[in-house]
């Protein structure tokens, strides 16, 4: 009877201890040893030990299922960003004759990158602990199963981590299609994206997020660059590559004299709103757990987007006397881009500031900077993602705080607001790396593609529209 009492008592103590620990996602959940139970009975009976072990397993399992649920939802949300989010956003911005071609590019990447990811992509990004790129250890997803990969996410199946990261690899090259829109061959796009994913994305993802990566902030990098969800890996690489593509391909026939207004801002509007929602998976999911940090990143993401929509709209209102729907949604996307590297490092007030600054800055980049230099970044992939990603990565170094994310260890200053201004320097190195890497890699790849499949459609095809000439179909057969 007394034994039963002790067992019940210790189990109860354990549960009471474990519940708050579980809620905080503290790493210590796996070894809660109740001092009171062991003090009252020096020799712990085997039945109790067994019970304790069982409880420990159950606590771990409970945390894992909570984290896994959120991460699977997040993975789905990030895929939602590419299709339909980005496909609609870009689809509405092109002319009617090219709507399917641009949507098809996003969709093709959903299929293409997935296959590449299974073959070698995941392994090149997250295999091994090299400085610059992964290895082939997990090629064909060897050894990737339900057991967690403790290097990256100890509480979720590695399969979840793998598929979540895949969704990032899909949207990143898809962003570039905004610069090549309305004039790049489909065959050239497929080849370009395959090479770009292997040569630019995989090394960059490994350098920033991979174990031992040169720019990794928590797993032994030389220049610890803070990039919570992909300001450098996703937005700077894609945005800068977009600029290179726009310059290499040249302007669309008739640009800038001939009017090329968006054919359906209703599509773009819907797409932008889907992007906003999907971005919660992108940023809050990057906590890789259903944790307080995920909530923090979720809030920062939302605040950044809202402030940037206001920033862009205010600038437009002052300049043109009107606030447009296209301006508001472009601002929101710019804010989402800029808050991406910062999401898990900054508080809500910093998020508002970063968003507002990004809204103003990207507005200037898209309306003024582009006009001054005259390049034809058709849907402003550089002006929004390259510029927004750069300003966001820089401001992350300023605004990151240890109270939000003690990434360098408990109590150690993280960003400028903590007094660690050296982090801004680290961010600059990361940004520079991403810029140079994307720039050089893209030029080489463009040259290769130009010499093989070719890059640009004929003038006849361009004038006729890519939907009919490349895909043999039309977006709108309203009379049929």
């Amino acid at each position: 009877m007394k034994r039963m009492g002790i067992v019940c008592c210790s189990v109860l103590t354990l549960v009471l201890l474990a519940v708050p620990l579980l809620a905080q996602q503290a790493p210590a959940t796996t070894s809660p040893a109740p001092p009171s139970a062991s003090a009252s009975s020096p020799a712990v009976p085997p039945a109790v030990t067994e019970k304790l072990n069982q409880l420990e397993q159950r606590v771990t399992a409970a945390q894992s299922s909570a984290d896994n649920a959120w991460m699977l939802v997040s993975a789905a949300l990030v895929l939602l960003m590419t299709g339909p989010g980005l496909a609609l956003f870009y689809g509405g911005l092109v002319r009617q004759k090219n709507v399917l071609a641009i949507m098809m590019q996003s969709f093709a990447l959903m299929a293409l990158i997935t296959v590449l990811w299974a073959l070698v992509g995941y392994s090149l990004c997250f295999g091994g602990d090299g400085h610059f790129i992964g290895n082939f250890q997990m090629a064909m997803l060897r050894g990737v199963g339900v057991n967690p990969n403790p290097d990256y996410s100890a509480s979720i199946p590695q399969l979840t981590f793998m598929v979540y990261q895949l969704m990032f690899a899909i949207i990143t090259p898809a962003l570039i299609t905004g610069a090549t829109a309305e004039r790049m061959k489909f065959s050239g796009t497929v080849l370009f994206m395959t090479l770009w994913f292997l040569v630019v994305y995989a090394p960059m993802a490994h350098m920033v997020w991979g174990k031992g990566g040169y720019l990794n902030a928590s797993l032994g990098g030389r220049f610890p660059t803070l990039d919570f969800a992909g300001g450098t890996v996703v937005h700077i690489t894609s945005g800068v590559s977009a600029l290179v593509c726009a310059l290499y391909l040249g302007k669309r026939v008739g640009y800038p004299k001939q009017p090329m207004p968006p054919h359906s801002l209703v599509l773009s509007f819907t797409g932008a709103c889907l992007l906003w929602v999907g971005w919660f998976g992108f940023n809050a999911g990057s906590a890789l757990a259903s944790s307080g940090l995920a909530s923090s990143a979720f809030v920062a993401t939302h605040f950044g987007a809202a402030a940037a929509a206001i920033g862009w709209s205010v600038a437009e209102w002052i300049k043109n006397g009107r606030a447009s729907a296209l301006g508001a949604i472009s601002g929101a996307v710019a804010g989402l881009v800029a808050i991406t590297p910062a999401a898990g490092f900054v508080g809500p007030r910093s998020a508002l500031a970063i968003g507002f600054i990004a809204g103003l800055f990207c507005f200037w980049m898209v309306t003024k900077f582009k006009a001054i230099f005259g390049y034809d970044d058709a849907l402003d992939a550089f002006g929004v993602h390259g510029a927004g990603g750069t300003i966001g990565a820089l401001l992350t170094g300023v605004c990151a705080q240890v109270v939000i994310n003690p990434i360098f260890g408990e109590g150690k200053a993280v960003g400028g607001l903590d007094g660690h201004w050296g982090q801004v320097g680290n961010q600059l190195v990361g940004i520079l790396f991403a810029w140079v890497f994307a720039l050089v890699g893209t030029i080489v790849i463009l040259k290769v593609v130009d010499l093989t499949t070719g890059l640009r459609v004929t003038e006849e095809q361009e004038v006729g529209g890519l939907d009919i000439t490349l895909h043999g179909e039309e977006g709108y057969n309203l009379e049929s």
């Binding site: 800038p256 009017p259 090329m260 207004p261 968006p262 043109n320 009107r322 447009s324 296209l326 301006g327 472009s330 898209v366 309306t367 003024k368 582009k370 006009a371 402003d380």
Partner: protein, 112 residues
């Protein structure tokens, strides 16, 4: 027989149709068209790029009527289509040589 071509503001079309119906005219052909006379278009701005849109949407109403009805029809259109601003449109009248009903090959005014 006369043909009336009235190019009017799209927003006035319903009242023009009602006015014509009131004087007993039931048949008409309507097309959505674009164009401009003295009315200037407007500018649209997309991400800082300005476009001048000078071909504006209009509605073209075509009627072929016996001579006796023409004046009343023109008056009805004038009254119902007018807003008093530039861009209200125009009415063109022309003589029609012949009208043939396809169903029974009736000719002349009885085919109208």
């Amino acid at each position: 027989m006369m043909k009336i071509e009235a190019i009017i503001q799209p927003s006035r079309f319903e009242s023009v149709k009602a006015a014509l119906l009131e004087i007993g005219i039931e048949g008409m052909t309507v097309t959505e068209v674009r164009g401009h006379g003295r009315q200037k278009g407007h500018t649209e701005v997309y991400r800082g790029r300005e476009y001048t849109v000078d071909l504006l949407p209009k509605v073209k109403v075509e009627l072929v009527l016996p001579d006796t009805l023409v004046n009343r029809a023109v008056e009805a259109i004038l009254k119902s289509a007018k807003t008093g601003k530039i861009g209200d449109g125009k009415i063109f009248l022309s003589r029609v040589e012949e009208a043939i009903r396809i169903r029974n090959e009736e000719r002349g005014e009885s085919a109208l």
